[in-house]
Amino acid sequence: MFYRLIFAAFRIFFVCLSLALSLLATKAFAADDLKAMVNALGTASFAQAEELVNNLGKSGDPNVVPALEALSEGDLFVRKSDGQVFLTKRAGSKLELIDPLTGASAGEEAKSALSKVKVNNSLRRAIRAAIGGLTLMSPDRTVRLQAAQSILKAPSADSLEAVETALAAEQDAEIKGVLESARAVALLSSDRSLDDKKAAIEVIKERGGRDSISILMTAANSADEALRPDIDAAITSIENSLVFADAAQNVWYGLSLGSVLLLAAIGLAITFGVMGIINMAHGEMVMLGAYSTFVVQNIIRTSYPELFDWSLAIALPVAILVTGAVGLVIERGVIRFLYGRPLETLLATWGISLILQQAVRTIFGPTNQEVGNPSWMSGAFELGGLTITWNRMWIIVFSLSVFFALLFLLKRSAFGLQMRAVTQNRRMASSMGIRTPWVDAFTFALGSSIAGMAGVALSQIDNVSPNLGQSYIIDSFMVVVFGGVGNLWGTLVGAFTLGIVNKFLEPYAGAVLGKILVLVLIILFIQKRPRGLFALKGRAVEA
């Protein structure tokens, strides 16, 4: 006990010493000093640890980065017997010790012989800033960019010097821009002159964006009275420019939602619009498509991992075949006996949907299945202040191409011609030698396989579970009813209108209330135009 007290006293002395040293020679640290500082972390109080972290950051030595990262993650342990600090890795019941600076292994130790170096949020902030400063000078461009961005997120006056040094040395224009913003943000909380700060506010204002507002808000709380008007003016100016960006963002989200709705509804538009069948099992076809993707990906993962980026391209025909076949079976087995009784197709297909859901639940289990994004689907890019994720982008492209392909099929192919003929006048078509039962069967299969394609796409952005279809079926019906039955263009317009209206209502009313409002609007709209936006006219209406 006595020894430990002495030991602690020695350590505190050492902390003070290292602090003094750091003041004297900010740049030049010997490896031994670093080692001592890291070890000192083991018993330092939070306040002391924060000083230590800042000093480690000022050392400019990238070797301390792993230790700091481990500290922030709670993976840094101190050995009780000698006060040495180590990184740890789980090795069976014991922990493997790793030297914090060199990364060399230093044996194993039972958990009881180690105690965790505690960390709190203010310490984590300091660590992030320190790591940011350290990695700013890295030769790797992406590391530098990330470092600059992490400083921008957690600005502190301490990192100001590091940022300025880095700024002077930086060549890359993009990183330079980020660094300038970071410098301005850090400057606001430092003790520089008022004029410098005013210039910094200008820089932040130029940068714009929602996080700039919050940066300025926090700055306003601690800032000088003289700076207030400048900050307020900057905030208003950013907000004004944001209104436009917000509208653009909403349109984008709306298009994205609309494309999902279009994908889900377009197959329904075929079966409901062309054949007059209320296919309540349509959502389950979407689900089957998503599960086909899951199965294909699983096979690829286990057997041909190098094909993973192609998994969606392989899953697409598989899903089309699976759902098309299921659709064909449903049409031949059940629906063909129910033509002319639309309300009863509704009941029968609802029953089928229950069976399909339960079948999938029995085979795959009720939980969500994980479907991975291929590399070209993940990530995002920036476009004029909008963050656009690749998966949303591709889904819009995909749904539009499915739409136009379908349109082409209906208008230009022999099968499409037969289909339209049967829709318009079944008896006449039959007398002309068209085999109407087969046209019906393949039309239904076509609608189902489009739902399967939708499932492949939706597996990328939604949870793949047996309930996947249920969440889309009502929305899809709304789209078809709103757009007008029997007209694909109506479905297109309906889907995107509903998507955009939904996303514009959301900020004002909240997600749920927005959706309720949309439903109410549709119900009211149906009163005005009972047959939808693009209604069929003439005899077909009463059929």
Binding site: P342, L347, I516
Partner: protein
């Protein structure tokens, strides 16, 4: 006039059904309360509550049959009226808890205290009185049906479109009632009821009384429904179902007649919900789920649409099957239900009661034909296209 209405509404089947229901209303509670537990005729309390629940479902199916079977309006939103009636009753039961709740607030229900509400929202006023709650049980669903139907029928939304927007209606209500700030208990709904009209809601006597009330209410609704159906008005309703335009051209106000039937049916559904809630002890937004409303359609279809008695039998059979099935093989219930949907639409389009009475009628025809001279039968008139 009332006697005339009664006389007209009673045919043999209806008399038998009402007699059975009234007998149940007397004998089941009596056997539950009076007979000793080891008697073979004793009905245990849990069965009383279970069958009481089935009877409320039967009432809901009867309400749907009135609009679907006789008026051709396939409502996929009847669960919404049921749930609204249930919520009105639930609000009364919540206010009866008084200071016995977890937080002990004399006025505010527990969930409001939990959400830091300071005072009762205006729409909760009056629900401490039973008569007011009982009124709301029919007024709220009736009003919703009136407004909804007024818009829908006036602009001639019918068939599939009507089905889909009624489904949208119940879906919207589902989403709305899930919100905490609606003031209806959000996700958890209303539960933890203590007593009704001063009687402990858990007690065997109350359960028996609720069962009797459900049976009597069902008998009464059957009487009303049968009165409507067998009147001249009812004949026109069937006309609307089969050829709406033709009835309109004959000078009937089709919208008004549909609206009247829809509102009456919604009120029945509301009563069913109000009887349902005290017997199961909870009402939550899940009751608004579109799937529930579709299930009501299958009860009606199994029993036989446009038979009035069929839906009652269908509701009891399907729910009894559900109780047994989910107990024995829980994972197969959805398969069975799904297969039932398909099988009934394909093979039993008239339902159980419709098929049996069709069979009896054809036997009678056959016997009559056998005893009388054969007459040439004209081909069935074809509907114009």
């Amino acid at each position: 006039m009332i006697t005339a209405f009664l006389l007209r509404s009673l045919d043999r089947k209806i008399i038998v059904a009402i007699a059975v229901l009234l007998a149940l209303a007397v004998f089941v509670p009596a056997s539950n309360l009076l007979l000793p537990e080891d008697s073979p005729l004793h009905v245990p309390t849990y069965l009383v509550a279970l069958f009481g629940k089935y009877l409320t479902y039967a009432l809901l199916a009867l309400a749907l049959d009135l609009v679907w079977g006789y008026c051709g309006i396939l409502s996929l939103g009847h669960g919404a009226f049921f749930a609204l009636g249930g919520y009105a009753m639930g609000m009364y039961l919540m206010r009866q808890i008084g200071p016995r709740g977890v937080y002990g607030d004399a006025i505010l229900p527990d969930f409001m205290v939990f959400l830091n509400w300071k005072e009762l929202p205006w729409f909760w006023y009056g629900f401490d009185q039973f008569w007011f709650a009982a009124l709301m049980v029919v007024v709220v669903p009736g009003l919703l049906a009136f407004v909804f139907g007024w818009f829908a029928f006036r602009s001639r939304v019918n068939g599939v479109y009507l089905s889909i927007i009624t489904q949208a209606m119940t879906y919207a209500l589902l989403l709305a009632f899930f919100r905490n700030d609606m003031g209806f208990g959000g996700n958890n709904g209303l539960t933890d009821f203590k007593d009704i009209l001063g009687f402990n809601i858990q007690a065997g006597g109350t359960r028996a009384a609720l069962f009797a009330a459900s049976a009597i209410m069902l008998a009464l609704s059957l009487l009303v429904a049968s009165g409507i159906v067998r009147s001249k008005f009812g004949k026109v309703l069937v006309g609307i179902r089969d050829a709406e335009s033709r009835v309109r051209f004959l000078g009937f106000r089709v919208e008004h007649m549909k609206l009247f039937t829809f509102v009456v049916s919604a009120m029945m559904a509301g009563i069913a919900g109000a009887l349902y809630v005290p017997q199961v002890g909870i009402i939550n937004p899940g009751e608004f789920a579109p799937a529930n409303s579709i299930e009501v359609v299958i009860w009606t279809a199994v029993g036989g649409r446009a038979t009035l008695i069929g839906p009652i039998i269908g509701a009891v059979l399907v729910n009894g099957g559900k109780t047994i099935f989910t107990g024995l093989f829980p994972e197969f219930w959805l398969f069975a239900l799904g297969a039932l949907f398909v099988a009934v639409t394909l093979f039993l389009p008239k339902g159980i009661v419709g098929t049996i009475s069709g069979y009896i009628a054809s036997r009678r025809e056959y016997r009559k034909a056998a005893s009388a001279k054969p007459v040439p039968i004209d081909a069935e008139p074809q509907a114009a296209e």
